[in-house]
């Protein structure tokens, strides 16, 4: 029995995963991943909101630029984008720093990760939000206009709340993609969950244990996110009779 566990590497798992050892590293990696996913998702939302409004109501130049942005980002594999954006981004920052007489700057891993993934998320969020805004019945916006609401207030008080129910399912997907895309940042040496896992696994040769543990952590993130988004969706759909009730 003990022999079997030993062979599977499970006997030592508990010890390997202890918080003071590699297990703690994994959790720190997870925290980093979540921090980046959160930041990138937020940045993506902001870019997406401006992008969606720009695409719908912007001038010709704005619309063309946004079309290029969303097309290119969605066409190029994310891994390639991450490499490009990361190295281009750090290069630009260094050039600016040198031009201003400073030395080379150390790029903050979290900030870089957020910026890189945020730009990617922004392209998808632009399309999700554009679709959602278009799905808002025009009468909702006309009513607001006819009562003298200024454009910004219409956006804040009517369009955004009314589009939420259309946007939330797509945004939930984007969030899950964000959590998993953080794994791609391993290629630029950022200590997120996947890189920590790989390091732990190769140092201890307990591949099975560590990748299983990492898989479990990713799964937990997804399950928790699902629960949170279910609540958000319920809130966003307030005022709309559910299909279930309708058929009852």
């Amino acid at each position: 029995m003990t022999g079997l566990l030993e062979i599977l590497g499970l006997g030592a798992s508990a010890e390997l995963l202890s918080l003071s050892g590699w297990g703690g590293n994994l959790l720190r990696g997870l925290a980093n991943s979540l921090q980046i996913a959160f930041g990138a998702f937020g940045l993506g939302l902001v870019i997406g909101l401006f992008g969606a409004y720009g695409k719908l109501y912007g001038g010709k130049v704005t619309r063309d630029l946004l079309a290029i942005y969303t097309t290119v980002i969605r066409a190029v594999p994310e891994l390639v984008l991450i490499l490009i954006l990361y190295y281009v981004g750090s290069d630009i920052i260094n050039q600016i720093s040198e031009a201003m007489g400073g030395g080379r700057v150390e790029i903050n891993g979290v900030a870089a990760g957020i910026w890189v993934l945020g730009v990617v998320q922004g392209a998808y969020a632009t399309e999700v939000l554009r679709g959602a805004i278009q799905a808002v019945p025009t009468g909702q916006i006309e009513a607001a206009k006819s009562y003298g609401m200024p454009a910004i207030m219409i956006m804040r008080r009517v369009t955004i709340p009314a589009m939420m129910s259309f946007a939330v399912p797509g945004l939930a997907n984007l969030w899950l993609i964000a959590t998993k895309d953080t794994a791609l940042l391993a290629v630029v040496g950022f200590n997120e969950l996947t890189l920590e896992t790989r390091q732990a696994a190769s140092s201890t040769r307990a591949y099975f244990t560590f990748f299983l543990a990492a898989g479990f952590l990713y799964l937990m993130v997804t399950l928790c996110s699902g629960a949170v988004f279910a609540r958000i969706e319920k809130w966003a759909r307030r005022g709309q009779p559910s299909l279930k009730e309708g058929s009852a």
């Binding site: 009468g139 909702q140 009513a143 003298g148 609401m149 200024p150 709340p161 307030r238 005022g239 009779p241």
Partner: protein, 265 residues
Amino acid sequence: MDRATAAAPEQEPEPRREAIRVENLHKSFGSLEVLKGVDLTAQQGDVVAIIGGSGSGKSTMLRCINFLETPSSGKIVIGGEEVAMRADGSPANQKQIERIRTKLAMVFQQFNLWTHRTLLENVIEVPVHVLKMPKPQAIERARELLARVGLGGKEDTFPAYLSGGQQQRAAIARALAVDPSAMLFDEPTSALDPELVGEVLTVIRDLAAEGRTMLLVTHEMKFAREVANHVVYLYQGRIEEQGPPAEVFGNPQSERLKQFLSSVG
């Protein structure tokens, strides 16, 4: 304000002031000319019914008055204030048009209540956020107005859970909440099941009786005859005939109006 002055006992019955004036209004959609020079004046307290066949431009005219549609040319004067227009008819001063819109409350055929807000929230939305009325005061007034249109107790219900008639009455409460100097109704009962039309007409009838200025696009001829003091018949973007209801309905002059009236029964 206006009511306070009107109620002052020592005052002479002053001449009624003009509420809405439209001069030589033109509107084209691309090459389609929908309004071909419409003139219309409503004094305060007037109930003007606008009738005409489908596509004659009734909705377009109403929507031009609060610039939901941009006129192609013409002049629009609300409460004595002319709306500044550019050469292409678009409002020259967005702030002005927003201010004027708060005095013109529109009631739509499809109600257009904000679906993610309860009835109470719908009614207080504009007073609180546009007119900057203190919230407790707005809520108190909203409750009164909802009770007045027969929706007391429905304050916390969302529009989708109500019948069309109830939604339209709530939309009227929302309109009244801004204390409008004129109300614009665009076929307020056309989207309703026949048995729900009456309850909405009753509310509008009350408003007419209390001296509200209203422009009312309607297909309900009997109702127009009863509540309006002026009827305008629109035909292909022009006013073909207008006058007091007894004249327009009882003794129509133009062949087209005669035909129209016999076709709608």
